[in-house]
Amino acid sequence: MALLQVFIIATIVFSIIHVMPGDPALLALGTERQQDPAAVAEMRHKLGIDRPLIEQYTTWLRNISKFDFGNSLFNNEPIKNYLAQRLPRTLELAIISTIIAVFIGIVSGIIAALRRGSAIDVGVTTLTALGISLPVYVLGTLFILIFCINLKWLPASGFVKFSQDPAGHILRLILPSLTLAFGMSASIARMTRSSLLETLNKEYIQTLRAKGLSKKAVIFKHALRNALIPVITIIGLQFGNLMGGTVLVEYLFNWPGLSTLLVEAVSHRDYPLAQGCIIAIASLFIFSNMIVDLLYGFLDPRVR
């Protein structure tokens, strides 16, 4: 199923590039060298667009199945190398943000639900509304202003390899992952709160309380388990948004991940590189959906 989705995405990426108005070769060459017919012909050959469409399509699919995305138009390096270098960095950012977001979101959601109507509840509800509305790059800029410029606690941006400087690596990871996590934790907190409130109103919970079970046992052993099922769905859906968010956050914090690579490729009109990036990001997205489905079955035996 996941493979089929990757196949569909590969097909769409192929067609987006070919349906687009304008000749990719002309666009790749830029306005000056467009005048030179020899250069255009060479570029068309290099991109493979001088061959029939069907042949291009089958070659494209065959190469992708071997993880061969061709070479970058600019320095002729294999795109595979780029992706192998950048993918772990984006993945690192995404996974750490997700962990932070799940933790903050679920804990604050539970507290808000249990203290319904209190100051904490109002605070959490207000923050979640903010978290959903505030663009990630606005939040990230504010973080940079506060933590890097005013308080001087953290380095503003950049990237160092973990093997070279582990502490520096982690310090530079904090702000981008917090920025990404904020919006996601808002959605998770919202869902946890409403789902837990709904579950606590169910009859079987009242029965358990009537049987004399302590409030703690009811909440943590019975209610939470059921309340978290829709939360898992939200986490899965939000992971897609997170992958979108990395585009802006990586750019803002100069984090050299997959999304920065995509932005570079798009602004340089490096078609093959952009294609490779999209396929890699979309595959991550599909893969994460698969994990969510598995988790779902684990929490809710009826789905298995």
């Binding site: 108005p21 202003l145 410029i149 992958m243 979108g244 995509l262 932005v263 798009v266 602004s267």
Partner: protein
Amino acid sequence: MLKKLTDNKFFENKVFVFSVIVLVPILILAIIGPYIAPYDPLEINPSMVLKSAAPGHPLGTDEFGRDILSRLICGIRPTFIVAIGATALSLAAGVLLGIFAGYFGGAVEQIIMRVMDIILCFPPILLALVVVGFWGPGIQNLIVTIGIVYSPYFARLAFSSTMQVKKQEFIEAEISLGANFARILSKGIFPNILAPIIIQISLTLASAILLESGLSFLGLGIVPPTPSLGLMIGEARNYILLNPMYVIWPSLFLGVTILVINIMGDSLRDILDPRLHA
């Protein structure tokens, strides 16, 4: 439904009234902004570069000495043009496609809804980034791209509502009385999908503003020198040490605008969909 709209139900909801009170001035700014701005937003003044607040420039100036207040007032207009244009496009395309798919079923349904599913499986900003990136930035391209990206949400809504309404007896009665497709659309289907669609419109507006400003921030949205909030934040980021207020004002303005539209969407949901109250 129409009776509900003429009711005072909307104005009994305090949150809705609040969001309207905040949103209306922003909308007015978007319409008349260029006429009331104290300075020309493109006017360069080399003697007043990156001032935080100065006489005549209450919000300071940017790296070219342009007045930030004037740029804010004028910058909200392209944002709303793109957001409203894109929402209108996705509304029209999505609702029509959804109704066609739901009404005719069969192969029409399969083709339309599968295409919509495919659009949905990309994160919106990724799809928009690629299309705008290769197509070129600019207001028209943004409207079309963002409109396409968000049309599946409307198509799904319209599709499922049409499917539900189609089965009901009054539609069958209409058909048996010889009503044509246009009549069934306007009398039977539209009134029944109005409420969820109004809610979706406000959500889409907020998302479209978010997406447009994000693309502009990356330099792939609105083309300079046209002022745009996302673009301003992207530029101001480079001067954050020299004039931190330069980045704060557009961020605040943009944040408040999106927040208010989202709050309005939530209150609309409360008003129009009482089932969710419980």
